[in-house]
């Protein structure tokens, strides 16, 4: 488990909003241009810092949802109504505005094509963000690593990247995407509902004998349950990587 990341001082950079996309009523994707960005690996995150006129500062961490692409990167932010940073990012920030960020941060919850597979991506809600960076990198690099992605949503209105996921599921070879809904499924839904429990994972995920590399991201309850169930099913704990993407974070 030893780290190999190069130690490099992280400095704050100015990032300009070049695009904002309404993913769901509560979720925005914000694309920034960051001239000083040193690049990142799929799965890494960054620190955002906001400074008020009176000097007050607040910061949070967000996963990057795009692979490295020059000076551009995208974060996907869910608005937490009692939060301080997320409502500003989702509602107040407009194209042309600038904020400060620094990164990339983290080097463990990272997937690149040379890490191989098969790749098992499992997310709850906005926990999909770092996994989307991995999936997009798999497609961008034209890797043939087989991918299964399991996504747990409360309802169909909560699905992030819906159009892109539908297009990938339709067009990409070797990528299977399965949605499940815990509260309300779309009309006419014939797929799965309920939580990603052991039985669902046994039915939908790669089997332990296929030795997948699994990345699990979402709220703590989902991550704990899914990671434990994978181990109980016989998956190697060293090949189950987790990241929390919880409602704490504001």
């Amino acid at each position: 488990m030893a780290g190999t990341a190069v130690r490099r001082r992280l400095t704050w950079a100015i990032a300009e909003v070049v695009d904002r996309t309404e993913e769901t009523p509560r979720v925005r994707s914000l694309t920034f241009d960051v001239p000083e960005w040193p690049g990142h690996r799929p799965g890494q995150h960054l620190d955002v810092r906001l400074t008020a006129q009176d000097g007050y500062q607040a910061g949070r961490q967000y996963s990057i949802s795009t692979p490295a692409e020059g000076t551009r990167l995208t974060i996907t932010v869910e608005r937490l109504d009692d939060g301080e940073v997320s409502p500003y990012l989702t509602d107040a920030l407009e194209v042309g505005d600038r904020i400060e960020l620094r990164g990339p941060i983290g080097g463990y919850f990272v997937w690149e094509p040379d890490r191989g597979g098969p790749l098992q991506l499992i997310a709850g809600g906005s926990g999909i963000a770092p996994l989307m960076a991995m999936l997009r990198e798999r497609l961008r690099a034209r890797s043939d690593v087989p991918v299964r992605m399991l996504l747990s949503w409360r309802s169909s209105e909560d699905v992030i990247y819906a159009d892109e996921l539908n297009a990938i599921a339709r067009d990409a070879t070797g990528v299977e995407i399965t949605h499940t809904f815990t509260r309300s499924a779309p009309d006419g839904w014939t797929g799965r509902t309920g939580r990603l429990d052991r039985e669902a994972l046994a039915a939908l995920a790669w089997t332990p004998s296929e030795r997948p590399l699994a990345y699990v991201c979402g709220p703590t309850g989902l991550v704990e349950a899914v990671a434990s169930a994978l181990v109980e099913l016989g998956h190697d704990p060293a090949r189950v990587l987790t990241e929390r993407f919880g409602p704490t974070g504001g």
Partner: protein, 201 residues
């Protein structure tokens, strides 16, 4: 001078105990869980805590032996590098001073080893002198596996990733060696009051 974010304002009232909240942190009432992999489940009859490395005589305790040691009840604040702080957390644990008492060592550093493979490095001076515990109860209850049970290191004056969960061994070393997150660019020491989040901070 930092760049001003147009229209951004403080929304959260400063905490009443703001002198207890390090720079860049916000107070949470939850107890967030952070870990890099599945939560290890360690049976108490298989659990051991060891002191290894640069010591005259390695030490080792079974769960029964460990929990029979004199424990302290402490209430203190914890600070996570992901920016949450949690005030007045109540723990029961054995002070490291007691575990290391009488031990002869030339070591200057300690690496905490966890079940599951996690590691964290600290100067030995930061875990002695009443500054660190091996905690096994939280809020009067056995420590939950997701929070590091059966027992975790508790070093509240440093960012909480130093307080290794699922503690298995304390390795005393003459030289420093980066732990898990330290190897991925997190700060080698991690003082929340100096905001030492990442290497170079």
């Amino acid at each position: 001078m930092s760049f001003i974010s147009r229209g951004f304002q403080r929304r959260q009232a400063p905490a009443a105990s703001s002198d207890r909240v390090p720079p860049g942190q916000y107070v949470t009432r939850d107890f967030p869980v952070l870990s890099a992999g599945p939560t290890p489940r360690i049976r108490l009859d298989e659990w051991r805590l060891e002191i290894i490395g640069e010591v005259d005589q390695p030490r080792s305790w079974s769960w029964q032996e460990f929990t029979a040691l004199p424990a302290e009840e402490v209430t203190l604040d914890i600070h996570c590098v992901t920016k949450w702080s949690k005030l007045n957390t109540a723990w029961t644990g054995v002070p490291l001073d007691a575990l290391l008492n009488g031990l002869e060592t030339s070591a200057g550093f300690v690496v905490a080893h966890s079940y599951g493979g996690y590691t964290a490095n600290l100067p030995l001076d930061d875990v002695t002198g009443g500054k660190a515990w091996v905690a096994y109860r939280y809020d009067g209850e056995p420590l939950e596996p997701e929070h590091g049970g059966p027992a975790r290191l508790l070093v509240p004056h440093l960012y909480f990733w130093k307080s290794a969960k699922w503690l298995r061994a304390l390795e005393l070393r003459a030289d420093d060696a980066p732990g898990f997150w330290e190897g991925y660019g997190y700060h080698n020491y991690g003082d929340p009051w100096r905001e030492q989040r990442y290497a170079g901070d």
